[in-house]
């Protein structure tokens, strides 16, 4: 009966731990791997112009909705300018203003984004566009083209494809030729196309942005066509009519608004530079979780002050040590002093590193033990004797530190943090066992403690494990479940297989 409670409890704990872990890993994107980094693109717009004599006001279109990308941060570098954001016709605008500027001016706007497939175009369905007011003879050309294309298409998407095919025809018909007569660049081309689509009462707009890849200076602005089919926005390559989007296409602004508008300046130029960085995935996951408003991040250890984080980095490994301890004692069956002494010794090894720690530990215990036996002759009472051992241990540590410093071995100094109380207690326990059960028992238990401590140290020192537990503290619930299960393990210990081997002879 009790057995079943333990199983249910362990399963429950493991289920909670695992589900929180999976949520944080899969949904929030916390990294399993310490070195895992997510590419982050920083796009910088440099607006340069020659300022006039009076006040200057600059408006720059900046990203509003960015399907496929999430914004990490944005900022502006502009000395002396007042800065703010505003919503204009085309979306968000960055605005700078200054009373008086002199000579050539450059203003920077910077935005950092990372890929996230979960970000969708979340516009509302647009209304049917009003008939554009265009003049003859263009109007007739457009009307004729619309009627013709409509006959050759079934819906918004096929209409758009057919229209773009005709517009891109190397030997266009006269109507198209007329429409394209004033077109200088991609932007103008897409602008004409949206006008034609508006005449056909199809909501469409121009999007402009960048295909992000690596590091680009003077990144070209790519114009693309967005058409709404009643349910969602579709993307069309204006040059081919194909329904597609360049890979990693980052939308900067929509509509036919000019990118930049400078009042009180001339010779305006905007230059884009793209830089790919790699950022710690944890930081990104936290930003993302904060944007989602989930509480998972409120309880994240990364929100603690750095000092406290360092302490928890160590503390959270103690359960790992305890698990190793439980396995070593109850499943392997190694003798050790005390219940948690080996885990504490392992913690002490963290300060000194393993080899030096083992050497120090055995030296100190051996020296302390011989002194303990000398004290035995004085017939001291228990507590004064323990205290005497403690004082001797402190003196021995001091001596070792001084000697190792003299010899130029700096690691000896870290012994100051070595928990001497643990050593003093080990010495006392060992001496009692030594006296009462003989040297072999004392040695065996001492060695067992050391072995368990080393095993605990090895596991507690695994960097990836430390990262995993620190990022996903809920995994401790799984360790708790394992410990509970071991608590009901009634099978043989490994050492018993040898111990009782005589019994299986017959």
């Amino acid at each position: 009966m009790k057995q079943r409670y333990v199983y249910v409890l362990a399963a429950l704990l493991a289920a909670i731990g695992l589900s929180v872990f999976f949520y944080k890993w899969q949904v929030l994107g916390f990294p399993l791997d310490e070195d895992q980094e997510t590419p982050v693109w920083t796009i910088e717009a440099a607006v340069s112009f020659d300022s006039g004599p009076g006040s200057v006001k600059v408006q720059l279109q900046v990203p509003t909705l960015t399907p496929g990308f999430r914004v990490l941060n944005e900022n502006s570098v502009s000395r002396g300018y007042g800065f703010g954001y505003d919503y204009g016709r085309g979306g968000r605008e960055a605005q700078w203003a200054i009373r008086r500027a002199r000579g050539e001016q450059t203003i920077y706007y910077r935005i950092s984004v990372y890929e996230d497939k979960g970000v969708d175009q979340s516009d509302t369905t647009p209304p049917f566009p009003p008939l554009p007011g265009i003049n003859e003879p263009i109007k007739t050309a457009v009307d004729v083209l619309v009627v013709d294309v409509r006959d050759h298409s079934a819906d918004e998407a096929s209409f758009t494809t057919e229209l773009l095919r005709r517009m891109n025809d190397p030997s266009p018909d006269p109507n198209v030729e007329l429409l394209l007569s004033g077109v200088d660049d991609d932007g103008d081309f897409v602008d004409i196309v949206t006008t034609i689509l508006a005449t056909a009462r199809i909501p469409a707009r121009m999007v402009r942005g960048f295909a992000l890849s690596g590091r680009q200076r003077h990144a070209p602005v790519v114009a693309w066509l967005e058409v709404h089919d009643g349910d969602q926005w579709l993307y069309f390559n204006p040059a081919t009519g194909e329904e597609s989007l360049p890979s990693r296409f980052f939308v900067w602004w929509r509509g036919n608004e000019p990118l930049v508008n400078v009042e009180g300046g001339n010779n305006v130029a905007v230059d884009f530079a793209i830089q790919e960085n790699h950022l710690d995935a944890v930081a990104i996951a936290e930003t993302q979780a904060a944007q989602r408003g989930t509480s998972a991040v409120d309880f994240s250890l990364y929100s603690l002050p750095i000092q406290t984080q360092a302490v928890y980095g160590v503390l959270l490994m103690i359960p790992i040590g305890a698990l190793v301890m439980v396995i070593m004692r109850n499943i392997v069956g190694i003798d050790a002093f005390g219940t948690f002494m080996p885990v504490l010794i392992a913690l002490a090894f963290r300060e000194t590193k393993l080899l030096w720690g083992v050497i120090l530990f055995t030296t100190l215990v051996a020296l302390g033990l011989s002194i303990r036996f000398m004290l035995e002759r004085l017939r001291l009472l228990l507590v004064p004797r323990l205290s005497a051992v403690l004082i001797v241990v402190v003196l021995l540590m001091l001596l070792i530190s001084l000697i190792s410093h003299r010899l130029g071995m700096e690691t000896g100094l870290s012994v100051a943090l070595f928990p001497m109380v643990i050593i003093a207690m080990t010495i006392e326990r060992m001496s009692v066992v030594w006296e009462e059960r003989g040297a072999s028992d004392a040695m065996r238990a001492g060695l067992g403690s050391l072995v368990v401590a080393i095993a605990a140290y090895v596991f507690m020192g695994m960097a990836w494990l430390e990262h995993l537990i620190f990022t996903f503290p809920e995994l401790l619930l799984i360790i708790l479940a394992l410990v509970l299960l071991t608590g009901r393990y009634t099978g043989y210990r490994l050492t018993e297989l040898r111990r009782f081997s005589e019994l299986t002879r017959n």
């Binding site: 009472l381 228990l382 059960r437 009634t490 043989y492 005589e502």
Partner: protein
């Protein structure tokens, strides 16, 4: 590895984890532990139940009383000093007599002469808690030193051999005789190097022996054969140990007895966590016997009836 574990399981061998989780935790509630952990209390309860125990000469419970030691033993030639809450035989001092030249010096069972001051220091240590299970303050018992029966003289090196009976829910399940060796310093504890000899519950005759988990035939110091020794008053021993269940109410119990030359079997102490070496000494598994006891268990049986049933049930077949 798994094959070895299966073989042990098939032989009915009880492992430490199973002993702890299945028997000690289930049958030995913690509140009953003082009855066996405090030897002064054990002695009191056993006396009240009409069982034979070594006489108590005195108890020293405080440092201030340590100086009363000489008075307590003033008219005693031999005695034993032991911690009330000691474990595994730690801290026991067996004084077999006084020095012939100086009455304030004592001869230990090992032959070593120690002064009264040294014994007082030892008592101080006991009272200070050096040998107690939790390191807490303790009491020192000073009691009758058993003059052991010559039955085991040939197979003991100094010290007092004792008989350990493991009692499961009031039924004796397995027994062994623990024989001191030179290595065990006269102590009858297997992990200190004493020899354990299995006992045929049916006839009270020793079987083969075990030393440090290995089967032996001869005592390592005396060279005498360990097997074939007949334990006197065997029925009484079985019944006394069965009665240990009534005294302690512990379902998984180890009863340690000694046979005194003059006074017969005496209960020395009882143990709530008897070790598992007894299985090696008997070349038999405890799990097996426990399963058999579960089948024949009768809650209304008297200790004598239970002892008789166990004697029949677990008699060696050879």
């Amino acid at each position: 590895m798994f094959a070895a574990a299966r073989k042990l399981r098939d032989s009915g061998v009880l492992g430490l984890n199973e002993r702890n989780a299945e028997f000690i935790m289930r049958l030995n509630p913690r509140r009953l532990y003082p009855r066996v952990d405090d030897k002064a209390l054990t002695k009191e309860l056993a006396l009240a139940a009409g069982m034979a125990v070594p006489d108590l000469y005195g108890i020293i419970a405080h440092q201030g009383e340590v100086r009363d030691f000489a008075k307590i033993v003033s008219d005693r030639e031999s005695f034993v000093v032991k911690p009330a809450r000691g474990s595994g035989g730690d801290g026991i001092l067996v004084v077999t007599g006084r020095s012939q030249r100086k009455r304030s010096s004592f001869r230990l069972s090992s032959g070593v002469i120690i002064s009264e001051g040294e014994i007082r220091h030892h008592i101080s240590n006991i009272v200070g808690g050096q040998y107690s299970l939790s390191g807490n303050r303790d009491k020192a018992l000073i009691e009758y030193c058993v003059h052991f029966d010559p039955t085991f003289a040939e197979v003991s090196y100094q010290g007092v051999p004792d008989i350990r009976v493991v009692v499961y829910r009031g039924y004796p399940a397995m027994a062994m005789v623990r024989l001191p060796t030179r290595a065990s310093d006269g102590k009858a504890n297997l992990h200190q190097g004493a020899v354990g000899a299995g006992v045929d519950l049916g006839r009270g005759v020793t079987l083969g022996g075990v030393l440090d988990d290995h089967v032996i035939e001869e005592h390592p110091d005396t060279g005498a054969l360990v097997a074939g020794l007949e334990i006197p008053q065997w029925e009484f021993i079985l019944e006394s140990s069965a009665r240990g269940y009534e005294v302690t109410e512990l379902g998984y119990l180890g009863v340690d007895m000694v046979i005194d030359r003059d006074r017969g079997p005496l209960i020395l102490e009882m143990n709530a966590r008897p070790g598992l070496n007894i299985q090696i000494a008997n070349a038999a598994g405890l799990a097996d016997r426990i399963a058999r006891i579960e089948r024949i268990h009768n809650a209304d049986a008297t200790p004598a009836e239970r002892a008789a049933v166990a004697q029949r049930e677990f008699a060696a077949t050879a």
